[in-house]
Every structure is written in structure tokens, then in C-alpha cells.
Symmetry: C2
Subunit: 239 residues, 2 copies
Amino acid sequence: MDQRSPVHATHLTTRSQSVIESLRSAVLSGEFAPGERLHEVPLTQRLTVSRTPVRAALQALASEGLLDYAPNRGYTVRQFPLSEVIGAYEVRSVLEGLAARLAAERGLTEADRVVLEKSLQDGDNLLSGRALSQQDRPSYSAINVSFHETIHAAAGSRILGQMIQLCLQVPISSPRNVVAFEDRDVRRRHDDHHRIFEAIVGREPWRAEMLMRDHVGSVKASLIRSLSSTIDVHLTSQR
Amino acid sequence: MDQRSPVHATHLTTRSQSVIESLRSAVLSGEFAPGERLHEVPLTQRLTVSRTPVRAALQALASEGLLDYAPNRGYTVRQFPLSEVIGAYEVRSVLEGLAARLAAERGLTEADRVVLEKSLQDGDNLLSGRALSQQDRPSYSAINVSFHETIHAAAGSRILGQMIQLCLQVPISSPRNVVAFEDRDVRRRHDDHHRIFEAIVGREPWRAEMLMRDHVGSVKASLIRSLSSTIDVHLTSQR
DNA sequence: CCGAGCAAATTTGTATACATATGGAAAACC
DNA sequence: GGTTTTCCATATGTATACAAATTTGCTCGG
């Protein structure tokens, strides 16, 4: 996966920004081993930029929590032990619960309601037939992201949204990873979405919070199941 | 308080680190108006360093949420409308609630228990007499911080601690600001501490979470009261 | 008088040279 | 032989020159 394309080919505002995205996806896709040091000069060669934007990107990724930093000793790829991933889910659970509660307290705008209803409808359609094919998974993932993001926005709290975003940065805890789950889990969780939506529309803050907390918590649970059964290999090989 | 001392006089690892601290305290103490742009060159002169560490510091403070950043247009001092401060409290409320729950689930280490008991005892002593004098406030503030930080640590979740720390960065939402509160509030909140401690020691996760949530939530409430009253004063005294 | 458009000045972004700190290997010493 | 010390290679921190972008203010045309 080493395409070695010059970063500044993409006209994404500044080189620093581009480098941030490049490095982030490289780290998340596992191109660097956990614990590995990221030296600046090799990165400049790989990305064909100078050290300045590289350093800016490293600093940014460190503050996102993806890298560790020690003064005068540079940056290393953070490793996320299972305990950290679980921790991220626990935090996300209460944060998204709060988001649902706030959304229920404030009420939805017309626009938000439409988006949520559409994602529910789309999900219904996708799940109406038999089991999801592998190709359907990305589609459902998009629906899932849309549902959750709309609620984050409806909560109307900048800090809250920012923090949820931070949680999603933690590898494997992103909702994109519904891919790894069983069909039954997906259906159950889509059902959760319906109930959460009802609670928000019905202005039941407490119920919305509890449902959302349990919803995200259940993702954690099945993630742990999925990990302990199949990905044992992965965990042990990275150690 | 413009003492204009060269930043690198303090031997705090690197210049960037020193500049971060200088700028942070400058922003928090209100030396820059909310919305004001922070140009790099003037800061270099003020701090007697080059643009490089200044830029690093600005980026760091922006990711802490203290500054806004727009590519090619630089950094501005974020303003925190009351809604933002309240939002920070709501988030902190659920996060500290989670921390208390986790601490209750895991149980306390001997060391942590001792620290918590000491902060409770110190608080009892401080509050045993009559009303707190102004000089006592900082002492109680330290006790308060110690109590909460110990619980954060006892929760054993790096991400959680990191996020709570982010909440505390938001101006006015820091526990240092017990200063602004009434005597009765302080006593009530110290009582909360006792109950929270009992719940954690007694391994009652759910109770610990609820108590802590309400505890932090009550700080929010009296902060709002305090603010609206001082604002009243400002209005009547034509500030 | 007002607005569009251009040009200069200011400001941020990037590259690079130099300074300083770290880590390790070789040499000196016990 | 093992430990300590010194020195050098390497990597990060800082300063600064240059490039690109934005802002400002002016001119010109309507």
C-alpha cells in the first residue's frame, strides 16, 4: 500500500492538513507497528514535504491521542490495549447518552427529524430482505453514522460533539466497524435506533439517554465477543 | 502583570512547552479579549522566541479548545458563551459520574483510599468552625481538586481522565472557582463527597455514579445562580 | 457616492540551516 | 572483564529566509 504520491497533489488547504490526513490513515490502517517511533526525516521523504508540516501533523495526531510524545525524543505510535478500547466505549456510551438526552430536551428541528427518519427508513429497507451481503455493510455503516451524527448535532453542544469525535478516533471503536458484527446484532441495533428516535421525538430525555447508553454499550459487548473469538491472533501478534 | 521576562529563563524542557504555559495563563487570565486575533510576530516579540515555538504553542492551545483556528487565517481567542460553560458542566457531570462508577466497580487501592479519607478529614476540619474566611477558600479548593483527581485516577481509564481534563480547561468550569460560591453550597458539596466516598468504598457503582452526577450538576446550578446575580450587579452598577 | 477590481502590505505556510539534546559505541579506567 | 566516561552520530528543537495566501486600501469606472 505504498503509493508514494506527493501529498501536495491534493489541494486540501495546506500541506500540514494533507499530511495529517495521510499520516492518520496510515497509522489507523496499521502501516506502523504500535510502539514504533515516527522519525521526522523518513516521513518527509515518504510524503515529499519538509519537516515543518510533518512536525505540525505529528503534534496534531498526538493531541488526537493517536501518538505519544516525549520532549526531545519524538513521537511513537500509541498502542491501544483492549482495556483502552473498552474505555473509549464506556466514555462514548455516557457521552452519546447525554447527547440523546439533550436532543430530547431541546427537541428536533424539522430538518434533523427528516434526516433521522430517512436513516431509519433506509435501514428498514436494507434489512427487510434476508441477511446483509458483504456489499451492504458499508451502506448500513453510512446509515448508522448519519443517525448518530444527527443526534450529536441536535444536542447542540460543541464540547460534547468534540469529545465524541475524540472517542471515535480510537481504533476499532468507530461505528464503521459494524462490519465485524453478526447479522442479528445489526438488526437489534437498528431496532434500538427506532426506539431512541421515538424517545427523542416524544421528548422523553431520561428514556432517550438510557436507551442510547445501552445501545452503545451493547456495541461494546459484541465487539468484545467478536474480538475474543476471532481476533485473538491479531492481538497476540501485535504484542 | 506584564513582566516581559524571557520565556526560556524557565528551564521547562523546551521553549515550546514554556510558551504553551505562558500563553495559556495569559489567555485564561483574560489578557486577550475573546475573539481577538493572536498574530504570531507580536507574540514572538513579547516572549522573545522565534515563530516556531509560538506556532507550536498556538496549535496546542487550539487543540485544547482555548483558541479557534482557520487555515491561512491564524488563531483567535475563543469566547465561551454561558451555553458553552454549561455544556462543559453537563459533559463533566456524566464523565465524572462514569469515573465514580468505574472506581466503585474496580475498588480503591489502599493508597487512594488513604488520600480520599485525608481530603475528607481535612475538609471536615476546615468546615468545623464558622464560615470559611477568604483565605480558607484556596485550601478548600486544593482539597476539592485532590478528591476529584483521586477518583479520576482510581477509574483507571486514560481516555476518561484525558476528557475530564479537557472539560476543566474551559474557563470558569474549573473547580478552582469554588471561590465564587456561598458557604452553604460548599458545606453541602463536602457532604456529597462523604456520600460518594461511601458509595465507592461500599462498591455501589450505580449509587456512586448518580451521586457524582448530581454533585457536579449542582456545581453547575450554583454557578448559574452566582453568575446571574453578579451580572445583575453589573447591570445595576452600570459596569 | 458606491462598488468592483487591482495592487501593496501584512500574515500565515513551508523549507532549510543551525543549535541542542539524546543514545549508543568505543575507549579509558578500575 | 566490567563499569564508567567520552565522543560521535542521529534526531529533535529553534531560528530565519522565502513562498503563498489573505487582508487592506486605493483607484477606477459606473
